[in-house]
């Protein structure tokens, strides 16, 4: 069964450094998402992406964050200058359609900011 893959599984970065988290969505999916889950807290929506542009973003998704689909398969989340509070699990998801379709999640990237 097709799945969403994320790399790396764990990223350790010094505060202030830039990180890029990578995702390969399911190939025929058109809608892409990033969520994060701080340890012990609920999963929070960051951003949705369709047709090469952001369709919605949350308050968390400030100027330090950006997303890109650099080619036909990858979907990336960049954090420009990481803060301690960016430490979390970051999940990528994709869906085939926008209405009444499940989102398929990757296993996440654990981001640890030191």
């Amino acid at each position: 069964e097709p799945e969403v893959t994320q790399t790396p599984s764990h990223q350790v970065t010094q505060m202030g450094q830039e990180v890029i988290l990578r995702c390969v969505p399911i190939s025929n999916h058109l809608y892409f998402y990033w969520y994060r889950q701080i340890l012990g807290q609920k999963v929070e929506f960051l951003v949705s992406f369709y047709n090469n542009e952001i369709s919605e973003k949350s308050e968390i998704f400030d100027d330090q964050f950006s997303v890109e689909r650099p080619d036909g398969s990858n979907f990336t989340l960049k954090i420009r200058s990481t803060k301690l509070e960016d430490s979390a699990m970051y999940f990528c998801a994709s869906s085939e359609q926008v209405r009444n379709q499940p989102q398929h999640f990757g296993d996440g990237t654990r981001l640890s900011i030191l």
Binding site: K42, V43, E44, S58, N100, Q103, F105
Partner: protein
């Protein structure tokens, strides 16, 4: 205010018993979805129920939706040790994009 809240926060039962988890939400929704998360893993989609549906089945899973009470329940019948995980409801609101709004989750432990 929280959009999706699960109840109970933790549930521990014996293998073979049924497990029921509840979810309440506050705004109108387009659909409600249940996901499972094993420790350290991603979220696995279990079932989606649309706002005009009242009940849905998938294998040992049964989901109900009561839009008048803004609540949903997930029933897992004949539980197995492998069902041990956290279970989340997530809502998709009517007006807006398709972001999922998750609850805090129910941590389900199945004792052998």
């Amino acid at each position: 205010s929280q959009q999706g809240e699960e109840d109970p926060q933790a549930l521990s039962i014996q293998e073979g018993e049924n497990a029921t988890m509840n979810c309440s939400y506050k705004t109108s929704i387009n659909n409600l979805q249940w996901y499972r998360q094993n420790s350290g893993r991603g979220l696995v989609h279990l079932i989606l129920i649309r706002s005009n549906e009242r009940e849905k089945h998938s294998g040992r899973l049964r989901v109900t939706l009561d839009t008048s009470k803004k609540s949903s329940s997930l029933l897992i019948t004949a539980s197995r040790a492998a069902d041990t995980a956290s279970y989340f409801c997530a809502t998709v609101v009517v007006q807006g994009a398709q972001k999922l709004v998750f609850g805090q989750g129910t941590r389900l432990t199945i004792n052998p």
